[in-house]
Symmetry: C2
Subunit: 477 residues, 2 copies
């Protein structure tokens, strides 16, 4: 089916009859703005943008679209990096932005029900007043929306402590392409009554239904945080350090790693001071929750004493070569920006080809060795910037276009290298998309991580919920 | 389709050809033992028991069964309470008991891959040597198997700390009724590559496929535990206490509640000493992890000082009326047995009708009031024993058959009361099965917790994976 569609009567006149005057926009600004996400690869081409205010409007609209075989792309904060919310085939974009109701926080149950169009950071502010947080946290939280986070099972820098978004969703309200409204699991912590359909919608990138509301599970806002930045002698030591830190029974909030060239790039591009007087081959940022770090063998020792002896051990075992602890919130922000500034600094410096892969944690060491060999063997002069949430097995592999190389040649080479890289990922039973999703961008490499039977099952399930294939067509599979 | 089947040639001769001599048993002892689970309601009637040793055998066998339209019931430790593993229609029971391989524990990744027939406690022992545990823990852990735990998304007494089984499963190997072997997610923490099919099998009670292996996610074995037993003035205060305890930023391992008659019954049936010199209307058992309980406002206070001031607050606010702290592991076991001995004591005392329901935590107070009214309004002389994992919204509602009442009358009354009870549960958007599952036992009341559209979707998904309806037929839907 081809969805290059021109909206016509009677569809348009029925929209005008059934919905408020400002429900559908075909203004060129809206088409441009809402037709795309942060993936700067596709040319947006939506035929209209719908702005529902209620679940009932979503339901009625999808039913109408089904009746008229009009394709729909759901759209949240448009911060996706895999083209999951881009309308390239003349689809109508259904934006959730007007659906931003936040219900009262339930302090006893530690839950809050919100509409899908709520901005992530608005949820944090709303729940923060009660000492609670929805621990889904990443750089784009000021724009990303709850529905998008859930549809992509968003990750971020705190996954090692809190897990993925999936873990923080109690209930979902979903509208199918037929206009059916599903209430999945409500506010129940425990509910073993057959298949947990909610789980199927989490991470399905808007291909099975449109999430309109969600009951979010909250947790206590963490206390004061300590941010350490360590110099480490190479990736094997990074992994040894990870194991040691895990053992310490500290409440680790983040364990992030970056290579030498990442640090040098960020300090250069942002004009930041390097944390150490000399270069090291790798760096690790560790964030822990202050005063929640006592282990059971510590006897009466207080937090500071324990911390000191723990740090001494890391140096004695030569797991770290140098280190610094943030002495103020400003210090902490500066250390974090050494890690969080990498992506932006790369984009500022030049053209970058990005990959977001994941490996079983136990395979990381050998994988990275083989990957480095792969890049060096090809002798292409490509510089690889490696960083990521290594505690979750997640690596961001970024390749910088060398000076003097044309863009077309760079893309051709990257595509070729990708095939080798993903074959390697496959041989380690890894993932070609750890947290960004598949969308349009990774569709052609899905088979490196999912078997033909799995892909066939996904399509079968899709067909049940959207037999005409009108919802987010062409995404994932 | 009716599965009352008599196994015949050529099926039997093909089994003899393809599998080891001891693969299939039709001995009367095996038929009796493996035909049922702990649900003592159904008459087991299997036609044979299969004992595969490998995934390949499972695959080959299910393919053969599909070809001959032979129905199969997967069976683990047979500790289920909803008849999910009972063979009542002449099915072949496929027992996983020979598939009990435990791979080496991966300390860096904190994972272990095991076959589905491993006993839960054997996993604990295996991982415990590395200071790690699979935190799926309940009374039947000495018999229950990993595959069964996952198929029923098992709960237990530590859910408030660790969540349900779902949270501790990284990867699944599943064999479908067509004999296809699926490897779902392997050992990946992060893998956003389309629909997470693994989630659909977790909690599906063996209706979609047979789990043959799993990669389990482990966590540090908790340190020393403190067990408190508190006397509380009624259920509203239990819920207030729950909220206060949550705020304290302690690492709560368990928050269990029981009513006066439960405590009196257990002390009487087990000959245990009552913890307090007088009766109270409700009791709460709280377990916390020692030395992981400092909150951020505590300054330099050590664990004991903080604990003391926390306890003082509970008494000052009249959230608790009396309390005791276990002074030894033996003490702790005794306090725990006041809660864990309830089920057994009820069975010893007489005939009991059991329900395992869940409510949104915020609805518990009003629900319990309405439920008590419901029982008293009917003036049936039924005594209700109420206990459970109240922090998860989970209530075990047990009704004791009064002296002098016939069993048939008791069952008739219970069935009638159940309909009222489940209507009430439905009006609170609760669950008719919090952790036991649906199986055969709760099939007729599934509609109180799941909508017709949801049930239709479950059947559609089932049809895709098992078009002939041969796998665990008649269970759930």
């Amino acid at each position: 089916m081809n969805f290059i569609q021109k909206l016509k009567d009677p569809f348009l006149s029925q929209v005008a009859d059934l919905f408020p005057f400002d429900f559908l926009s075909q203004s060129s600004e809206d088409l441009l703005l809402y037709g795309k996400d942060w993936t700067r690869v596709y040319v947006p081409n939506p035929s209209a943008i719908a702005f529902p205010r209620t679940t009932e409007e979503v339901s009625q609209f999808l039913k109408l679209c089904s009746d008229h075989q009009v394709a729909v792309v759901p759209s949240g904060g448009r911060t996706g990096l895999a083209g999951g919310a881009v309308a390239v085939q003349g689809e109508i974009v259904l934006s959730l932005r007007r659906m931003n109701r936040l219900d009262a926080v339930d302090e006893l149950a530690q839950t809050v029900r919100v509409q899908a169009g709520c901005v992530t950071e608005a949820v944090h502010q709303h729940t923060g007043l009660h000492g609670l947080t929805w621990p889904v946290d990443f750089a784009s939280k000021g724009s990303s929306q709850v529905g998008g986070n859930i549809s992509t099972n968003a990750g971020g820098v705190k996954v090692i402590r809190y897990g993925l978004t999936r873990q923080w969703v109690l209930g979902l309200q979903v509208v199918t392409m037929k206009g059916e409204i599903l209430e999945l699991n409500g506010a129940l912590e425990k509910n073993n009554t057959g298949l947990d359909l909610r789980q199927l919608f989490i991470g399905s990138e808007g291909t099975l239904g449109i999430i309109t509301e969600a009951t979010l599970k909250l947790t206590r806002t963490p206390g004061e945080l300590d941010v350490f930045f360590f110099a480490v002698d190479g990736i094997p030591k990074v992994l040894e350090l990870f194991q040691e830190v895990r053992k310490a029974s500290f409440s680790i909030m983040a364990f992030e790693f970056l290579t030498k060239n990442c640090l040098n790039l960020v300090t250069q591009m942002r004009g930041l001071k390097a944390p150490f007087s000399r270069d090291y081959s790798a760096y690790v940022l560790i964030e822990i929750e202050r005063n929640r770090a006592l282990n059971t063998e510590s006897g009466g020792k207080n937090f500071e004493d324990q911390m000191e002896s723990w740090l001494a051990t890391l140096f004695e075992k030569e797991l770290v070569l140098d280190g610094t602890l943030a002495q103020s919130p400003r210090d902490a922000r500066d250390l974090w920006s050494l890690r969080e500034g990498i992506s932006e600094s790369l984009s500022m410096k030049g053209r970058v080809h990005k990959n977001d892969i994941a490996l079983p944690v136990s395979g990381l060491k050998n994988f990275i060795e083989e990957m480095n060999l792969l890049f060096s063997r090809r002798q292409l002069g490509l510089e690889v910037f490696l960083f990521g949430h290594i505690g979750d097995g997640n690596l961001h592999v970024n390749t910088m276009m060398p000076e003097g190389m044309g863009q077309e040649e760079f893309e051709r080479i990257c595509d070729a290298v990708d095939l080798d890289l993903f074959s390697l990922v496959q041989s380690y039973e890894g993932s070609v998309s750890a947290e960004h999703g598949i969308g349009l961008l990774k569709k052609n490499v899905l088979h490196f991580s999912r078997s033909p039977i799995e892909i066939a099952l996904m399509k079968d399930f899709k067909r049940i919920l959207d037999p005409q294939g009108l919802l987010n067509p062409g995404k994932i599979f």
